[in-house]
């Protein structure tokens, strides 16, 4: 008898848990964003203001997101990929044209981030965050200053370097070091980059994702290739860390909000995008994520230290933006797999 009672109780508890999540008449918006990439409470605020429910899902790489949407039938309304992936998705007809009348807050965004080559006139995408890729190093663990991508090949740092576990970013580092075009579609160039990365392998401690932030704060290794916002974030936690944009130039990237063509909540999705461009929300995101904000006023109000992590004009001149690689993306993937398993 006792057992039956306990069983009933457990079943009742499970059902009451399940009951919490059902809310049928409220519209639901599904958002697919990078991991650890939104300020605290932003989603809740949107839900409250617009009387809807948001399903928030996360990915680690552009390629993950693309595969989930095209192959695994992932149904999303708003997605936030980077520029080269947006270019590819536009070409493949995956993205819906935006109705700019529903996104009046776009006016507040900096001219700098708008109307870029990957989406002229921002027909399909609205900037969310932007930034660069650089090297973060621990000044107590290196000799002198780190200034160049070549320093990632310096044998004295054996077992002291973190590279990114990301095809595009790591291949681009090798291509830039070799002085080649990081958007190259030439087989010979890609093979040269592969050889360069294989040569570097003995120096590498690990190929990491988001966890690199904690590792660098703890002082696990001397240097790491890192996104600018992550760098800004961890510089606050450990004062021995320095972020540098290598002299050869670097990658300048943009993560923009888009709506999938298959979305059935396009209007609500546009409201979401508009909401994300509000000054107050951009401030929350800037403080939490630490990436570069697209909002002009928020940008203007930055303090000196934060502004330092934004690329200066002469660096920007040497920066490049990723382009969709088309069919060559597969070759990059295969080369990368071989580097990882070699």
């Amino acid at each position: 008898m006792k057992k039956i009672f306990a069983l009933t109780l457990i079943t009742a508890m499970l059902f009451s848990l399940a009951g919490c999540s059902s809310s049928e008449d409220v519209p639901t918006l599904t958002v697919y964003n990078w991991g650890d990439y939104i300020g605290d409470g932003v989603i809740e605020q949107f839900e409250e203001e617009f009387g809807c429910k948001v399903n928030y899902e996360m990915f680690d790489q552009n390629e993950d997101m693309y595969t989930k949407i095209t192959k695994a039938g992932g149904e999303y309304d708003v997605v936030i990929p980077s520029e080269y992936m947006i270019e590819r998705m536009i070409n493949e007809g995956l993205l819906a044209e935006l109705n700019h009348d529903n996104i009046p807050n776009m006016e507040n965004l900096s001219q700098y981030v708008l109307d870029r080559d990957f989406d002229p006139g921002n027909k399909y995408s609205v900037p969310y965050m932007w930034g660069t890729v650089g090297i973060v190093y621990n000044k107590t663990m290196v000799n002198g200053e780190i200034t160049s991508w070549n320093d990632l090949w310096d044998p004295q740092y054996e077992g002291q370097i973190f590279m990114m576990n990301s095809v595009r970013d790591s291949m681009a580092v090798a291509l830039m070091t070799l002085g080649l075009n990081p958007n190259t579609r030439e087989q010979a160039d890609i093979e040269a980059a592969q050889a360069k990365l294989i040569e570097q392998k003995p120096l590498i401690l690990a190929y990491t994702g988001d966890e690199v932030k904690d590792k660098m704060i703890a002082g696990e290794a001397a240097m790491a290739v890192i996104y600018s916002g992550d760098a800004a974030n961890i510089l606050m936690e450990n004062e021995d860390l320095v972020y540098v944009l290598p002299e050869e130039g670097t990658n300048l990237w943009f993560d923009n909000m888009c709506i999938l063509e298959s979305s059935e909540q396009k209007e609500l999705a546009e409201k979401f995008i508009n909401f994300m461009c509000e000054k107050e929300i951009c401030e929350i995101n800037r403080d939490y994520i630490c990436y570069n904000t697209p909002h002009q006023e928020v940008w203007d109000s930055l303090d000196e230290a934060t502004l330092h992590t934004y690329p200066s004009a002469d660096i920007i001149e040497k920066c490049f933006i990723y382009k969709d690689l088309g069919e060559m993306a597969k070759v990059y993937d295969e080369m990368w797999t071989k580097i990882m398993v070699n």
Binding site: Q61, E63, D64, Y66, T67, K68, T70, K71, G159, N165, V167, K201, I204, L205, A206, Y207, T208, E211, K215, A218, G219, E220, A221, K330, D333, T337, K338, M340, V341, N342
Partner: protein
């Protein structure tokens, strides 16, 4: 008999949907090219002997899983044996303690190992404070083996323990009556009788160890990728499901073959009273 068949129906339906259908799908995908046409390319790409990238990964996976399994066996058998010899109450508590870590999420336990093993981690901080040299194991194959052993050890202990506790005490008494000392009793009676447990322990540790992808990613740092990582990557990142499926099929056939061999080995020993070693 008829009643039994009706009772088995739910399982048959379940197995059809969740076991047979996915395997059939994987099998079909593995013979499909990018355009959905029939091709053997996925397999020829894997078994490319002039560029054995993928074969090397397969070999590394088998090698690391085998080492992990052997260590599990060497640690697990004595533990199971000691456990089976203890009084009932203590035994219950101890076997509960062995299972307890499994209540926690597998991923969480592996993350915990990262914090323990890294250069600035708990173990190394402790060693440094004692003035001892540090143990630089994080992001090596050693760390992957350690993760495997830690996570899969209970799967080795429990089946062996189950067999050992069920051995009839009168068999042991008979051995003693016939003049066998404890060494002889162990070699000629206990060990042969426990072989079925050892076999299932081996397959229950080897299989997850050879297919794992989380442990190698977190503790191996990406450069010690295993076949599981490659398969995950094909499905999740690259989107080449045909090649991912082909690798899965190869792995399944391999495991099936290994199980068959072990099964035969077990059958041969069953009831014949043959002595190993």
């Amino acid at each position: 008999m008829k009643k039994f068949r009706i009772a088995a129906l739910p399982f048959a339906v379940y197995a059809g949907i969740f076991i047979v259908a996915p395997i059939v799908l994987i099998f079909m995908y593995s013979f499909q090219g990018a355009g959905g046409d029939f091709t053997l390319e996925n397999f020829t790409r894997f078994f490319n002997f002039s560029d054995p990238t993928y074969l090397k990964v397969l070999w590394r996976s088998i090698y690391l899983a085998a080492i992990s399994t052997v260590i599990c066996l060497l640690l697990g058998y004595p533990m199971a044996y000691i456990l089976s010899r203890l009084p009932n109450r203590v035994r219950g508590i101890l076997s509960f303690l062995f299972v307890l870590p499994m209540w926690m999420n597998f991923l969480l336990r592996t993350y915990a190992w990262m914090t323990l093993l890294e250069r600035t981690g708990i173990i190394n901080t402790f060693l440094t404070n004692l003035g001892l040299p540090t143990w630089d194991i994080m992001y090596t194959q050693g760390a992957v083996i350690l993760g495997n052993v830690y996570n899969f050890l209970p799967f080795m202990i429990l089946p062996i323990y189950n067999v050992l506790v069920k051995i009839d005490k009168s068999v042991l008494e008979a051995s003693a009556d016939l003049g066998g000392d404890s060494g002889v009793t162990f070699r000629k009676v206990i060990l042969p009788l426990s072989i079925p447990g050892v076999i299932s322990g081996i397959s229950m540790t080897f299989m997850p160890a050879v297919t794992t992808f989380v442990i190698s990613k977190l503790l191996g740092g990406g450069q010690n990728a295993l076949i599981g990582d490659l398969i995950e990557n094909q499905f999740k990142v690259t989107g080449d499901w045909g090649f991912g499926s082909a690798m899965s099929v190869v792995l399944m056939i391999l495991i099936l073959g290994a199980m068959q061999i072990m099964q035969r080995y077990e059958d041969e020993n069953d009831g014949s009273g043959g002595v190993l070693l």
